[in-house]
């Protein structure tokens, strides 16, 4: 049943989000073309009279529009994800959602997985747009500009040849942190909307926004308590590094910092994971026991 829920949720999000992603790609292509025109003619072109000046002006505007479209898309994706969640859980659509022969945790998993998938898709689309721009939009001569990539690839090669397998762990940790962080942020808003919807019958969304901050503050208090209790050891260790650092080469310094920060990274990973699981379990509890649709 989870598969079917994911299919339906994905469909209801894609209906709106898929066209917006196409629009972002189109905007980035238009922006890239206009930038490519301007970079060839120089900034002075804006101030020329006649047709060419107008074309330059318009293409500069299009470039600005591209940047705006990409920023707007980030908010739109987030808005649509939470709007869909709110509608199918808190409005009359809930009568359909909560009478399906599925468990409430399956409903939550489906909403979480589809939200994460769409966040990742939109991040990939923005990444592609940015690369279209760098690759085609920044060449002063010829059609493409490969030099930024040459530099990036050289940097990556150097890092791997010097540090070798030492990079595997931080890369894996980074990916895991991103995934947990994404789930954490989505569930934070879900939980706030659920509590808001239960507490208030008239101003569900407003109450949801309020509870978002209440949860943030609660998490902040717990975090700073833990930091006070356990953070001291970490600071001492980092201070000790200061005196050792000067005698080391790059690779040695890297390994030393990595080793010193590992406990901190693993602790924060575990802490975020526990909070994320807590958000999930609380959301599940509230939906199961406290839900009261209008």
């Amino acid at each position: 049943m989870l598969g079917k829920l994911i299919k339906q949720d994905f469909k209801s999000l894609s209906r709106i989000l898929f066209p917006t992603q196409l629009a972002i790609l189109a905007a980035s292509i238009i922006g890239t073309i206009s930038f490519a025109i301007n970079i060839r003619k120089g900034v002075g072109a804006y101030f020329q009279n006649g047709t060419f000046g107008i074309i330059s002006g318009i293409s500069a505007m299009l470039g600005g529009l591209m940047v705006f479209a990409i920023f707007a898309s980030v908010f739109l994706v987030a808005f649509i994800i939470f709007e869909r969640f709110y509608k199918s859980f808190m409005t009359s659509e809930g009568y359909l959602t909560f009478t399906l022969p599925v468990t409430t945790s399956e409903l939550l998993w489906s909403k979480l997985i589809t939200a994460m998938l769409w966040t990742i898709i939109s991040a990939v689309v923005i990444f592609i747009s940015a690369n279209i721009f760098i690759y085609f939009g920044t060449a002063k001569e010829g059609i493409v500009n490969f030099s930024p990539y040459t530099q990036i690839f050289r940097g990556i090669r150097e890092a791997f040849s010097e540090l070798g397998g030492g990079l595997t762990l931080p890369i894996i940790e980074f990916i895991i942190l991103c995934i947990i962080g994404l789930a954490y942020n989505i569930l934070h808003i879900y939980l706030a909307l659920i509590i808001g919807g239960i507490v208030s019958q008239k101003h569900k969304i407003l109450a949801g926004v309020g509870f978002y901050f209440v949860i943030s503050i609660a998490v902040g208090i717990v975090t700073s308590l833990l930091m006070n209790l356990f953070g001291g050891a970490m600071v001492n260790q980092l201070n000790r590094l200061d005196s050792l650092m000067p005698g080391l080469n790059g690779a040695q310094a890297f390994h030393m910092v990595m080793n010193a920060t590992q406990p901190m990274i693993l602790c924060s990973m575990a802490f975020t994971l526990i909070l994320t699981a807590g958000f999930f379990l609380l959301s599940n509890y509230f939906i199961k026991n406290k839900l009261n649709l209008e």
Partner: protein, 233 residues
């Protein structure tokens, strides 16, 4: 062993200090069409919502074919809420496929033929349909399932009298011997011809549960007349 389709044991539901249902005990058999009747705020919708798992009881328990509200019970219950609840961006056919996806007992062919009989455009988006037509779509979806328990909350409130007759006919035709239909409504005169039994609910408590025939035989009254007598303002 004949198991009750819907059973309530000392069932209570409170919203804060207010009792929506108080100590309800009832056992509904299979194969009957039962009217759930009572004035506004008597707890009809609350009882139905408890049975389909949209609310959790404050006290006591409610069982559908022996199951507490959960996946097993929801697969057996076909629920028609008293409001329009389908996503407005879906087409009528999308809704049919949605039901087919989630309910193993959904009869797609039957749904299509019912839509045709009620002349509902299958490719139209829900948001383009009138309120009455939306209600027809919902009723088609709900009655196209081969469920054990149909919970119909005000199924005919928003449709014209001609459609009412068709809908009541549909309910009569489509429920089978081992399923129970529980209809909550104010339009008693319209539905009483298809009711086998009726429940009167007042202030969250059952005041009467009897068969339509015995009411006619013993008191010589229709349910409508009896209702007006019991709930006189």
């Amino acid at each position: 062993m004949s198991e009750a389709t819907l059973e309530c044991r000392e069932l209570s539901k409170y919203f804060g200090p207010n009792a929506a249902l108080h100590n309800v005990n009832i056992s509904l058999p299979a194969g009957k069409i039962i009217g759930l009747l009572g004035p506004n705020g008597s707890g009809k919708s609350t009882l139905i919502k408890l049975a389909c798992g949209l609310l959790t009881p404050t006290d006591g328990e409610i069982l559908v074919c022996g199951f507490e509200p959960g996946i097993e019970s929801k697969a057996l219950v076909s629920y028609l809420p008293e409001r329009t609840y389908l996503p407005d961006w879906m087409t009528v056919l999308d809704c049919l496929k949605y039901f087919q996806d989630f309910y193993a007992d959904f009869d797609y062919a039957r749904a299509i033929s019912m839509l045709q009989a009620l002349s509902v455009p299958a490719n139209a988006r829900m948001k383009t349909l009138s309120k009455g037509t939306k209600e027809k779509v919902q009723l088609v979806l709900v009655m196209s399932r081969r469920a054990r328990l149909y919970l119909l909350d005000e199924p005919i409130g928003g449709v014209d009298p001609a459609a009412r007759d068709y809908i009541l006919g549909t309910i009569l035709r489509n429920y089978c011997e081992d399923s129970t239909v529980l209809i909550s409504t104010h339009l008693i005169a319209d539905v009483e011809k298809i009711l086998d039994e009726f429940i009167f609910l007042q202030s969250g408590q059952i005041v009467s549960y009897a068969s339509t025939d015995s009411l006619r035989a013993d008191l010589g009254k229709s349910i409508d007349e009896y209702f007006r007598e019991v709930f006189r303002c």
